[in-house]
Structure formats: C-alpha cells, structure tokens
Amino acid sequence: MRGATHVRWAACAVAVALAATACGGDGDGGSDAGAVLSASWGDPQNPLEPSNTNEVQGGKVLDMIFRGLKRYDPETGEAKDMLAEKIETSDSQNFTVTVRDGWTFSNGEKVTARSFVDAWNYGASLRNNQRNAYFFGYIEGYDQVHPDKGEQTADTMSGLKVTGDLTFTVKLTQKFSTFPDTLGYNAFVPLPRAFFDDHDAWVKKPVGNGPYLVDSYTRGSQMSLRRWDAYPGPDKAQNGGVDLKVYTDVNTAYTDLMAGNLDLADDIPAAQLKNVRTDLGDRYLNTPAGITQTLAFPFYDDAWNKPGSEKVRKGLSMAIDRGQITDTIFQKTRTPATDWTSPVLGEDGGYQEGLCGDACEYKPDEAKKLIEEGGGLPGGKVTITFNADTGSHREWVNAVCNSINNALDDERACTAAPVGTFADFRSEITERKMPGPFRSGWQMDYPLIQNFLQPLYYTGASSNDGDWSNQEFDDLVDRANRETDTAKAVGLFQQAEKVVRDDMAAIPLWYQNGSAGWSARLSGVKLNPFSVPVYEQIKVS
C-alpha cells in the first residue's frame, strides 16, 4: 500500500511540475482531503510581514499563505511563473511584469499590479523598519526611500510604475539579468489593502493569496491554517489544514512525534539522528538544502591578509577532516563541501562538485607544509569564534580544532572561542572584532549561484563579514549580472567562484541537509530547497 502511494505520489509530482495541474481529491483510497495535520514550529523572530521575515519559521507561514510572481519548484528549485503571466525585458534593466488574471486574496480582493507595487514600496520604505528592505535595493529610487543616513525624501520608488490593472514596470539601477528569478523570495509577494488600512489587525491574523488561510493565531504558541477552498492557483492544498505548534525544544517535538501527538517534525535533533531510522523507518527524510557552513576570515586584520596568507588558509582547509566530522557528529546529515555553492542549485544552476579540488581534501602533511610556507599561523595559533546558543556548533568547532591540531602536531594550535548568544556573535562580527576565523553559515534566499557569491564575497556586500575584497571577482560578478544568457552568466559566476577558491576567501566546510520525520498518517512529505516542508502536498489519511 505504501509503495503504491509512493508511485502514485511521484506521478502526481511530475504532473504538477509539468502541467501545473492539481492532483488528488480524486478518490485516493485512504487519504482524507479534509483532515488536518499538526507540525512543529518555532516562534518567528520578527513581526510576520513578508518583507520583515528573514528566517525559516516565519518563512513557513508565508510560504503557505502567499504566492508571488514566481515560485521555486519544491523539487528542483527552479523559478517558475506563478502569478506572473510574463516578465519581459529587452535590456536586463527595464522589466515589464504582467500579472495573471483571476487571482484574489482570501478576503476576496483582486490581486492587481498595485498589490505588488504597494507591497514593494512598503517593504523598501525606511520608516517601516523592514529587515528585508535591501532586497529592493536594485530598484531605481531605492536610495530616496531608504537613504543610508537621514530622512527618506520619497515615499515610493521611482523605478516602479503601474501601467495597467495587471501590468507594471520595474526599472533597475543596473543590469541584472536574473532579477526575475529572485522574485520568488517572500519579500516580493503582493499585499492586500487590508494590510495597509488596518495593519495591527492584519499582523494578528494575516491575509494572503496562498493555498491556506489563517484560521487562528495565538502568538508564541500556535497557528491554525486551513485550506482555502476557493484558492485559484494550481497547487491546491491536499489536506484540510495545518496546525503549527511552537516547540521550545526540538527534542520535545521529536518525543511528541514518537508519542503520536504530532504529525510532522521538520528538524530532527542531532542527538536523535542515531535512532531515527529505527524509530521512524521510511517516515524520515534527509535531503540537501541550500545551506552551507564556512569558516570566514577577518581580512581587516593584517595578520590574516598579508602575502602568503592564502597558503595558510588553504593549509587550514586541508587540515580539516570534513568526512569524519560529518559522519560522526552529524550522522551524514551534512555533506563535505567541495565548492562554495550548494548541490540544490544543480549542475545547470552553477553547482560544480569538486571545484575546490585538493584544497578541500584532508591532507594533513601537505597542510602542515603549506602553513609553514605561508609563514605559519599568526602568533602560532588560531582561534575559531562561534555562537554557542544554537545548533551543534560547539561540537563541530571542537572537532575542527582537533583535526587541525592533529594535522599540525600541536596541541595548542587551534582553540574554540564560544560567544554566548547569536546576537552578541553578530554584533562582534559587525564591529569587526574577530580575532581569527569565525563560523559563517549561509542559507540561500533564492536558488541562484549569484546568491551564494555576491552577498558573501563582493566588496562591501551585506554578508561579506570578513571584508574580503578582490577586483577580479567583483568584475566577473558585474559581468555575470549583465549577461542575458543564463548559461553564460552561470559560467561567469563559476569563474568568479574560482577566484574565491584561489585566494581561499573562506573555507567551505559542508552542505547542510534538511530533515523531517512524520507520523504514519501522512504521505507525500517533501522538503523544498529551503528545508521547509511542502505542506500543501502532504496527504493525511
């Protein structure tokens, strides 16, 4: 029976991907289209506004109650038209967007070009304190509504113009050929008038245009979402709804799953990874997600930025036994990295296995030699800084240090320096106070190679925490952004990535997987490349 459902399911998924036809609800034996499932959740850090949500927990909700111009295919990550009828450009700088007719918000309001333009202007405007405002930074007029200093001089961005009921134009400040592909990000979804007219009420009970609507929301503990029966899109929900329950501790969620008190836990605690196969059997999923872990370097510190330093950095990289750490500490839920992007991009998207080459392989003898050639570790030792409050950072940083110490035959070569909270860790990074390499994790915003390179390594970019700067890299990225042919653009980005490799701007450690476990009631559970469950495709029996 299970086998049969799986095959059925695969067929469905293919059908959805190809023809965007809804699947299910056609007498599927055990499945009950009206049944509600419960899923684990965490309290969103910021208010639940689309342009204010920059972490997974809030992202889960937005993914259920909103649909944007584009949507990333849950399987391949490819950006596909959702609300967009078409997005046209002749010069990669001026875009004409046509919104598909027939879409409404769940309160009945029609989704028009204005729904988008108003939402984007709201997100960019400085006075709304939106955490994701910089996503609109490419649009002309952004610097007037969001100046670096002082008051904003305009309310709306001059680059956005409504030209018809369902059409609007976007003018960017520079050529950016893959701009349409970034529009699947949550910050770019449309907003109903209710959002602006009665903002407080909206935040208490958000209204969107996705396959689910918010039934009730008790902040900090639970959100009940129900299927929106009149949803006009092709990806209708296959279940009656989802109850998201806030768990303080992923271990409790896992215990609840074991006890049959919870249907879906989408983050399996590291301590349980050993038992998960025996506990859940095939009701467990472990798939690559667009998350990478690296060690960044403080290039603002001359000790790490002098001739020969790149040899030291490369040596450190070769002193880390990635395979052993991912096997023992992470039970293979992470994969040793061999480039600076992520496997979820796919070959065509720019992921290139082994791009890093020898420099990412464990070669202790060569590592020692390289570090000596490069003038040795600054001051004879290296400190790895990390935040100790979440994840299992402490375990792996200690393991990395051990590996380095063994390779260098020096018990004191590497020490781990924990920082108590993420906020404190971030503020030390922002103040450029890192004494040595530090933990740097990157969760992609959209599945494009550009997102793995430009924000992290471009001169002055928002997540270039180490202040690495390289003219050749910047030029290649600029050229790639201007390039209209996608394959050529990806090739240029890969060239840029090789510049990162040759200078070892950051040490790639591993690609992170998303994991989920579910109860026997559910079938068709999948994680998208952002490691968020594809709720609308889950069937409940």
């Binding site: 969103p44 850090q45 304190n129 409790t252 074991m258 404190d424 997540s463």
Partner: protein, 307 residues
C-alpha cells in the same frame, strides 16, 4: 502589625530598584541586540539606526533605565522585538506558570508534609529509612533527567499522558510537569518536616498536651505540626519565586509556554524589554512571598508578635 507591614513594604522599594537596575545593566552588557535581528548579514545601517531609536537603544544606559522605569509605573513594559507588547506576553505566560507553580506547591505541601509527619513520628523505622533513601535519590537526580525519563515512560512507552502540554495548558496536563518541578523541593520539604517534627515531639508543650489526655491526632495536628511548620513555610515561601522563575528546564522539556520559556527566548534574543519586564515581576513575587511568609510566622507560632 499594620506598621510592620508598612515598614516592610517601604523596604521593598530600594530592593526593587536595585534588582531591576542590576538586571537592566546585565542585559545591556551582553551587547547590541539589533545585530541578531538580520540573520547572517549586517543590518543595513539606516534600518538598524531606526530600530535602535524605536527601542530606545540609542540613549545612554542610565537614561534608558529611567525611561523604562517611568513607563513601568504607568503599566507600559515596552515591546518585544517581534512587535508584541511585553504586557501581552506576560498575560499569556504568567497564568500558565502560576497554574504550574500552584500544582507544584500543592504537591510539596500535601505529599511533602504528609511524608514528613509520618517519618518524623516513626523515626528509625523501615518507613523512615525508606522515605529518606527515596528523597536522597530525588535530590541527587537532576530535574531534567527525572523530567525526560517520566516523559518518555508515561508519554511515549505507556501512553498515559501527552508528552507535551498544549498551548492552553489546563490543570490536568500540568500534573506531571508540576510533579517534576516540585520533586526536589518536595524531598526537601519532607526532610525539613521530618526533622522539625522529630525535634518538637520531645518538647514540653507536646508532653503537656499528651498528659492532658488530648486525642493523638489533635496533639499531632494542632500542637506538634503547627509549631513544626515554621521552617517548612519559610522554605516554601522562598520556593514560590524559584518555581516561577526557575521552571525554565521543566517548561522546555514539556513545551510549556510560560515565564521560563519567555525568559529563555528573551535572553537568547537579547530582548532587554522582555527580560527586564519578566524579572521585575518575579522580583515583586519574591518580595511579596517573603512578606507573606513572615506574617505567617505570627499565625503559626503564638510566641511571635509583630509590632
């Protein structure tokens, strides 16, 4: 009595100010909370500046403290980073924790005192030795071990209870967490009562009561127990504060969204407003509980009078 209460209430003011100031400074020392709001990237400076201004973080610490205290007296505890008012957080968190604490205290009083009386009256007998051993085990095993073990046995293996508490947190779901939370204190209460009873059993007034020919239960309850409860009441009074603020571990295990959960999250996100607000209320609870304990002395022991 009235003057005593007034004097005690006045003493609370400096304690209250000192405690809140300390907490305020400690949370501030942790660094810039805004930096944690933007994920793995630098907040853009303009937004960061506006957020700092909104949360009053751009002013000097002493001024922040004064503004904050001024607001607190008008009932405004500020806003958490997720846009929720701290008073709103309190109104959802405190009822849950109060229920949990009530259950825990009830366990301490009913089981702890009963066991204490039974063992105190039968010193050296097998019951006494058995209970002593049992309490020793409870005291030496950390709460999270007891909690996780009971959760696994009762919740998963035998399926008697739900391993986690729902968001409404009604009384019946809080029984097991309450027992876990109370366990260590319960053991202490047993031991305190036992020692106290055993000691007072040989005192003059008990001998007199027995000599008067009073029935045994009246001697035990009215004379012996009432006088033996003073150390126990002191302990339980102080424990109320501990149970309310220190339930972080228990609340995490059973996924209870109470004070411990809000404090934990507030500290992780360096949310000054949440942490200081909750701690301020906890400080008040401590102070009031202590006052009530002191007043209870006079009720329990006729020899104590407050002028």
């Amino acid at each position: 009595m009235g003057r005593y209460v007034v004097r005690r209430l006045l003493q609370m003011i400096p304690v209250f100010i000192g405690a809140t100031l300390l907490i305020f400074l400690m949370v501030n020392v942790m660094g810039d909370p805004i930096a944690g709001l933007c994920g793995e990237r630098r907040c853009d400076p303009a937004t960061a500046a506006r957020l700092e201004h909104e949360f009053g973080l751009d002013e000097p610490v002493w001024q922040q403290y004064l503004t904050y205290m001024g607001n607190v007296f008008t009932g405004d505890f500020g806003t958490a980073f997720n846009g929720q008012e701290v008073t709103e957080l309190m109104s959802t968190a405190f009822p849950v924790t109060i229920r949990l604490t009530l259950i825990a205290i009830l366990f301490e009083v009913v089981i702890g005192v009963t066991l204490g009386v039974v063992t105190g009256l039968r010193r050296g007998r097998p019951v006494d030795t058995g209970v002593l051993l049992f309490t020793l085990v409870v005291i030496s095993v950390p709460t999270f071990v007891t909690g996780l073990l009971l959760q696994l046995l009762l919740g998963v293996k035998w399926g008697w209870i739900r391993p986690s508490v729902s968001s409404e947190a009604p009384f019946d779901e809080l029984i097991l967490p309450g027992l876990v939370l109370a366990s260590v204190s319960l053991a202490y209460v047993t031991r305190l009562t036992r020692t106290s009873i055993a000691e007072n059993r040989r005192s003059d007034y008990v001998r007199t009561a027995v000599a008067k020919g009073l029935p045994r239960h009246r001697v035990v309850v009215r004379h012996l127990l009432r006088n033996s409860l003073i150390p126990v009441v002191t302990f339980i009074g102080a424990d109320i504060g501990f149970l309310m603020g220190g339930a972080i571990v228990t609340e995490r295990i059973f996924n209870i969204h109470g004070v411990g959960y809000q404090l934990y999250q507030g500290i992780l996100r360096q949310n000054t407003q949440t942490v200081v607000g909750f701690v301020t209320v906890l400080v008040l609870v401590f102070l009031v509980a202590n006052l009530v304990v002191d007043l209870l002395y006079a009720v329990l022991d006729p020899r104590i009078r407050y002028a």
